[in-house]
Symmetry: C2
Subunit: 429 residues, 2 copies
């Protein structure tokens, strides 16, 4: 392979004609291949089928005798708090287990801070147009929450060691209207990068101009390693405590990609003061979360070790998929100099950068050939990728054979879009 | 028995001495009897233990093939929508099944209306100090939501046919800052009264000064009849449609007192336009509700008839408890002219009115003797009963023998507090 940019017009034209033909064959097949979101596959879900049957009509109480079939308790059953605490390396008093969605917890906390303020300030909603920093490419659902509450989003670049800390420190210490930042510190969505110890230390030592500034630390992939060698990140909660900023961070996590997506358990971990405050807000909204589903998780996993053991099985299923993406990209695109991509050691995504101005076109071409991808731009605030180059690859859901087909189509689309870009001539589809 | 008010000072003094002695004996026993909230009893919960085991590792999909173990679907599985729709006499398109708590749905909709407005107006939060009408005595959790969002509450009297409609019509048609009203139309919390057809018709024909006025119709006890003869109330959604006010009402309900309290399924029913709008808001917050728990309910109950059949069993358990309360009050307090109470045909509560100025004292005395009651005043906005006379009796949770003890203590406390009131002399406890 030689780089497209170094080929002659005739060579490019020949390749383009080949690609057009290949593409037409794909399009005619009318496949439906879905790679839109980070969804566990059926064989991953089957790992936890024991959850469906692990309670019985003699087993519905916590160790302290609470009947999980009845009302009572706003912040989770003790056993489930312990499992999250052990996995996140915090104390159970620093954990609230609530509901089936960590995203909902993030939304509820932003909402509460908008209407009532944090423990350190007036309601965000009464302070004028507030801002959140958004390391990007990032998670579109975070940006949706900002959009919902009309919070201005400021894009911050993200590097292999984490977001651009120079920029972040500078902006946060000078602008009191910056109230938050979205972080996915481990196997970041979609780049898969891991924040370095240095980055996390700098986060914990931020000196925000706003006393009510908060880090939304979405540790969604906290134990989602692909390899036997595990990646550990620094404990932000206790670093913030040490730095004299104990209430600056909320940590979120869930079992959405451990047990059943959408039918699992979610948590927020934070300082005891933050937890007390969050509990108050949750109590105005509801009597409490579904404790039976928490108990199911406790019975099925038993403890943190049980969870980690299951994660090995997830990794076995996911490893070949991530390898297939990596191998296919290398073989198909490796030396063409039309793309770059990440090779994460965990998480659910691979971040793919095409030539500038090609991402939307690639997603469009893929759609025509039956491959559904995350919309181009979704990984940036307001759905607008300034360079139109980033695409989030979500390889987890399709079986390997389908993933292979999808990747072939994807690579063909990448090449076609790149050739269109280089030649200035669009291929009608 | 002759009324206390017609006794001589000596007679009253003798009775008081007897009561003091009785009371001291109770207090010494140090019982712990709980009648604070409308909580199902253990034998009621056991009716649904089949829910704990009704799914299997071969049964986790909806009829249309959706895997309930995975992401997808914001508004509930089709089968569960149909069950709610059949029970509420609406169409599945008018139903959103979401989460385990109808209270949370009410909170989320008030919250969304505060920050974004209804489909018929600007955000409530930007319109100045808005108001809700609160028929009282009512449900304290409704008032908590108003308090949370700093919404002014206006107390409206409630009669055996429903709230004071003359007052409501007058206020709502003249004051555009009135944006909502809380209603529990069937077996109202705590009075147990049922809104008459005439009342509901007047609700549907309200002519609010505010285009974005909404009725929060909390139909929590919609099929919670105690007797074989069922009480049916008019269908507010379609009456509103007929009156040209299709978006004026949100109907809420749940299985909290049908299956497992806190681990059941909740819904909101409304016009299709309202449902579309609610779906949008829910989608910003989360990927979706726990579909597996909905599927459990579908498998266990099968259909609306299955639910109604189970409600007969609940009624069998609850009937003797409500009868015991009614009989005890009649026998102990019947002719003393120191109290009035309701005799509901369904629901979870009995509303008790003491002599004015005695409710707090009765609750205090009960606490000293080991009986925990809902705080006096809780049934009014801001926890303030202007006459200090209303107490909510929640007889469902204790077994009959414990309920009997609790009622004896309660009646003793009522008599003591009344004698204190009549004599102006307080008994030290």
């Amino acid at each position: 392979m030689i780089p497209y940019a170094k080929m002659t017009a005739d060579e490019l034209s020949a390749i383009k004609n080949d690609l057009k033909q290949t593409f037409s064959i794909y399009a005619e097949k009318g496949k439906k291949l879905i790679m839109t979101r980070g969804i566990p596959s059926e064989d991953q879900l089957a790992l936890c089928d024991g959850l469906l049957t692990c309670l019985s009509n003699e087993d519905y109480k916590t160790a302290n005798g609470n009947d999980c079939r009845n009302y009572g308790g706003i912040d989770g059953i003790p056993e489930m708090k312990i499992i999250f605490a052990d996995l996140l390396d915090v104390t159970p008093e620093e954990v609230i287990v609530f509901g089936n969605s960590s995203l909902a917890l993030m939304f509820d906390i932003v909402s509460a801070n908008m209407s009532h303020g944090t423990i350190d300030g007036k309601p965000w909603g009464t302070q004028g147009k507030i801002k959140f920093l958004c390391p990007s490419p990032g998670y579109d659902r975070h940006f949706t929450i900002c959009n919902y509450f009309d919070i201005e989003m400021i894009t911050v670049p993200i590097y292999p060691t984490g977001p651009d800390m120079d920029k972040i420190e500078n902006m946060i210490s000078n602008d009191p209207m910056i109230k938050g930042i979205w972080c996915v510190p481990k196997f970041s969505n979609p780049t898969g990068i891991v924040y370095s110890d240095e980055t996390i230390k700098r986060f914990a030592n931020l000196k925000p101009a706003a006393s009510d500034f908060r880090i939304f630390w979405d540790n969604a992939y906290f134990i989602h390693d692909l390899n036997k060698t595990k990646t550990n990140i620094s404990d932000i909660i206790h670093l913030c405590e040490t730095s004299g900023n104990p209430n600056m961070v909320y940590v979120f996590s869930s079992f959405s990609k451990i047990s059943f997506a959408g039918a699992s358990v979610a948590c927020v971990a934070a300082s005891v003061s933050n937890c007390n405050y969050i509990r108050q807000h949750l109590s105005a909204r509801t009597i409490g979360p579904d404790k039976l589903n928490q108990l199911r998780h406790v019975r099925f996993f038993e403890n943190a070790d049980g969870v980690l053991a299951l994660m090995e099985k997830h990794a076995e299923i996911l490893r070949p998929k991530f390898k297939l993406v990596s191998d296919t990209f290398r073989d198909e695109l490796g030396e063409l100099e039309i793309a770059q991509w990440t090779t994460p050691q965990g998480g659910y995504f691979i971040s793919f950068d095409s030539l500038n101005g090609c991402a939307k076109r690639i997603v469009e071409l893929c759609a025509k050939a039956g491959v559904a991808l995350t919309p181009a731009g979704a990984t940036f605030p307001n759905g607008k990728d300034p360079l139109d180059c980033n695409i989030r690859i979500a390889p987890t859901y399709p079986p390997l054979t389908e993933l292979k087909e999808a990747l072939e189509i994807f690579c063909t689309a990448v090449k076609l879009a790149s050739l269109e870009k280089l030649s200035g001539e669009t291929f009608p589809v």
